[in-house]
């Protein structure tokens, strides 16, 4: 599998969904060799899902992408049985969810999963607050408790102050935040997002993607995210499954999909995505040549730089957290002044680049900086450095290989 250390949360095996007279047949055997169009012509049936199998780890954002009609919605609806699959198995935390009784299924939907829909699906006759509290209400939570919790999630998605409005007086982006709040309210382990941002215009969509990433950083939910936009898939996903005519044609990390598309269909998608938005800084960075600790003396700093032949050095805390930078010249001045410890001049405390940022994002911040840039990991520890010119060069290389491949 994907070599991740997180425990397995969801496991889908040979899932089929067929609409029409062929649905009662032993679909796997009868339809295996036939294309979607053939089945439609000969058997008057639609294959919405064809033998789909995949695993999702706990805390992972698993993106399912494909063209319209490729079966994405069918797949995600099967996971909570809003649609009954024709054949196959779905295991969530080791339990066979298709074998659930009606009561068990209701419990499962109430506590394990939360879903967000492309067309929001808010209750128009209820306020934003009551919409956010919907899941808790059907669970039978007392009013005061569910209101308090709904307020909390509404604040989380940035909708404080809108509690008493009706969904119809909100913009599309705000309505989808209500949808997200509703899904988060019962604190489910699994979030199912069916094209949550597709109905929003591009700028708002980008904001919502960012907010989802920030929320996910905090919550570490298992997310199944449906989209038909590879750029979005790459931004939010840890792994991506690409669907075509109901079948999954490739599963991989964004970088795997971009660098190694399984077939022409996948390659077609990747052409629409600019590589500079996919390749991360971590891919380009080098390990820092020299660094000093903030309680080191100016003398140490000067010697470190002279030993390495460098004209500047990064300064870190004892734990390795990035603080700033000092040049050889400044260190020498500090030595003459007789400072006890080296300090980074204020104008040399760059906002460091995150290892997982794309080249394009990194460049946006680094454009007016010359020389080396510090690269940190998720917890702020200095893990490497990258030349600004290397970033620019990589961005242009990406552009030109794209141009070449078109």
């Amino acid at each position: 599998m994907n070599g991740q250390s997180e425990p397995l949360r969801m496991s889908v095996r040979n899932l089929w969904k067929v609409y029409g007279p062929a649905a009662g047949l032993d679909v796997a055997e009868r339809l295996a060799g036939k294309s979607k169009a053939e089945v439609q012509d000969e058997l008057k049936s639609v294959v919405a899902l064809r033998d789909a199998s995949f695993d999702v780890s706990s805390g992972e954002t698993f993106v399912v992408m494909g063209l319209s009609g490729s079966g994405k919605s069918t797949l995600v609806r099967c996971l909570i049985q809003l649609i009954e699959p024709t054949m196959g198995q779905i295991f969530v935390d080791g339990e066979d969810v298709l074998a659930y009784t009606e009561e068990e299924r209701i419990e499962f939907r109430r506590h394990k999963t939360g879903m967000v829909f492309q067309y929001f699906g808010l209750l128009p006759h209820r306020t934003v607050l009551d919409n956010a509290a919907w899941g808790l209400e059907v669970q039978g939570l007392p009013e005061s408790e569910r209101r308090a919790r709904a307020m909390e999630v509404l604040e989380m998605v940035g909708l404080s102050g809108w509690e008493n409005y009706r969904p119809s007086s909100l913009s599309g982006g705000m309505q989808q935040r209500v949808g997200l709040a509703r899904a988060l309210a019962s604190d489910p382990e699994i979030l199912l997002l069916d094209e949550p941002f597709s109905a929003l215009d591009p700028l708002i969509r980008r904001d919502m993607q960012n907010e989802l990433l920030v929320l996910q950083e905090r919550m570490r939910k298992t997310i199944i995210f449906i989209t038909h936009d590879l750029a979005e898939a790459i931004r939010v996903g840890n792994r991506i499954a690409i669907m075509r005519d109901g079948a999954i044609v490739q599963i991989g990390t964004p970088e795997q999909i971009m660098s190694n598309p399984a077939d022409e269909y996948v390659a077609d998608f990747t052409r629409d995505v600019r590589r500079a938005t996919v390749i991360t800084v971590g891919y380009l960075m080098e390990h820092p040549t020299t660094r000093v600790r903030e309680d080191d003396s100016p003398d140490d700093a000067v010697r470190a730089m002279e030993a390495a032949g460098a004209d500047a050095v990064f300064i870190c805390t004892g734990e390795g957290r990035y603080v700033g930078e000092v040049t050889l010249e400044e260190a020498k001045q500090s030595l003459r002044r007789g400072d006890g410890a080296i300090r980074a001049p204020v104008d040399r405390r760059f906002a460091p680049i995150q290892r997982q940022q794309s080249i394009e994002e990194a460049l946006a911040n680094a454009w007016d900086h010359h020389g080396r840039l510090p690269v940190v990991d998720e917890s702020g520890l200095l893990v490497g450095e990258v030349e600004r010119d290397a970033l620019i060069q990589a961005a242009f290389e990406a552009e030109s290989t794209e141009a070449a491949s078109v």
Partner: protein, 341 residues
């Protein structure tokens, strides 16, 4: 590596494979309708050629059917009269109580109250019209009759709603119930009302109760239809989203489908009320009081003036009820409006 063991490859147990779909000779929709009709017409022409136009029906079943219905209704009346007496008693009490309240309220208070409601729900113009028209009804000496008719209509509409909402819900949830109910509803609306006045008298005697019974039969179909329609029309996206959070069927009905069907149910109530008003004079035939009785009496005595006044008073009631309930339905509709997308 993932920790949990992946499940086996085997699919879920399958039901027996059904027969492969039929191929070959198949009819499209038009052919399916046109062929039998064409065949029927040809058969008639052939039969007419053989036997000529003197052909008689081989048997008369009309008589026995009518006899059977007569017997059945008589049997019901004889053996279950206690049930119908109880129903009649409850309905009558409710009616008399309402009537007493309406007549007890001083007319200026009533007129002012209705004017206020018309002003809040519709417009000041409607309020002005309602008040002037009601005062005119009073000056025409028809106030007590108008109040009695109003009480009759309220009782008939309340009973209709009590019947229509559960039936409408059943019809919305099951296509079978819908298919069974449909011909009955069509029949109730088109069957001349005199037909069920007779059994109404047999079951409930003469007076207001059989009139209410006949009114309900005539007026209830749109309320049932529009309740069912309102529930079926709730956007599938909303239903699906609600369900994804683990609603029971009951929660879905009470918290999503019914509230969202309210504008449609209100439209049904509006139609039911208008149809009930149309039955006022027919009801008087079996002994109902109120404006209907006034009109009927004028008719029997050849007093077109009195008949016109009574008729106009019914029209006034109808207009007020119609505008107010419509405005209310519209308001609810506005409240439900989803953002256009």
């Amino acid at each position: 590596m993932a920790v949990a063991t992946p499940p086996t490859q085997a699919g879920r147990p399958q039901g027996p494979p059904s027969a492969p779909p039929r191929k070959g000779f198949q009819l499209n929709r038009w052919q399916r309708v046109a062929l039998p009709i064409g065949g029927f017409v040809v058969a008639i022409l052939v039969a007419a050629g053989i036997w000529g136009s003197e052909m008689e029906f081989p048997a008369d079943v009309g008589g026995p059917i009518a006899d059977w219905v007569n017997d059945t209704i008589r049997t019901i009346t004889r053996n279950f009269s206690f049930i119908f007496d109880t129903i009649a008693d409850v309905v009558l009490r409710f009616l008399l109580w309402l009537e007493a309240i309406f007549l007890w309220i001083p007319w200026p208070v009533m007129v002012g109250g209705i004017g206020y409601v018309a002003w809040r729900m519709v417009s000041w113009r409607m309020a002005l019209f309602s008040m002037l028209a009601l005062v005119a009804v009073g000056f025409a000496g028809l106030w007590p009759s108008a109040m009695e008719t109003t009480a009759l209509i309220v009782v008939a509409v309340v009973i209709s709603i009590a019947v229509a909402i559960p039936l409408g819900i059943l019809a919305a949830r099951s296509n079978t119930v819908d298919a069974i109910l449909r011909p009955f509803l069509d029949g109730m609306q088109t069957m001349p009302s005199f037909v069920y006045l007779v059994p109404a008298i047999m079951l409930f005697g003469i007076g207001n109760v059989p009139a209410i019974f006949a009114t309900v039969i005539y007026a209830v179909p749109p309320a049932i239809r529009l309740t069912s329609l309102g529930i079926r029309q709730v956007t599938p996206q909303v239903v699906e989203a609600a369900q994804s959070f683990g609603t029971t069927r009951r929660q879905l009905l009470l918290k999503v489908q019914l509230p969202m069907a309210i504008p449609s149910i209100m439209a049904g109530v509006n139609q039911t009320t208008m149809m009930a008003l149309a039955m006022v004079v027919v009801g008087a035939l079996v002994g109902a009081g109120g404006l209907g009785e006034d009109v009927l009496r004028a008719l029997q005595r050849f007093q077109p003036g009195e008949a016109l006044l009574g008729g106009l008073a019914i029209v006034v009631l109808a207009i007020i009820v119609d505008r107010v309930t419509q405005a209310w339905a519209k308001e609810r509709q506005e409240a439900l409006r989803t953002d256009a997308h």
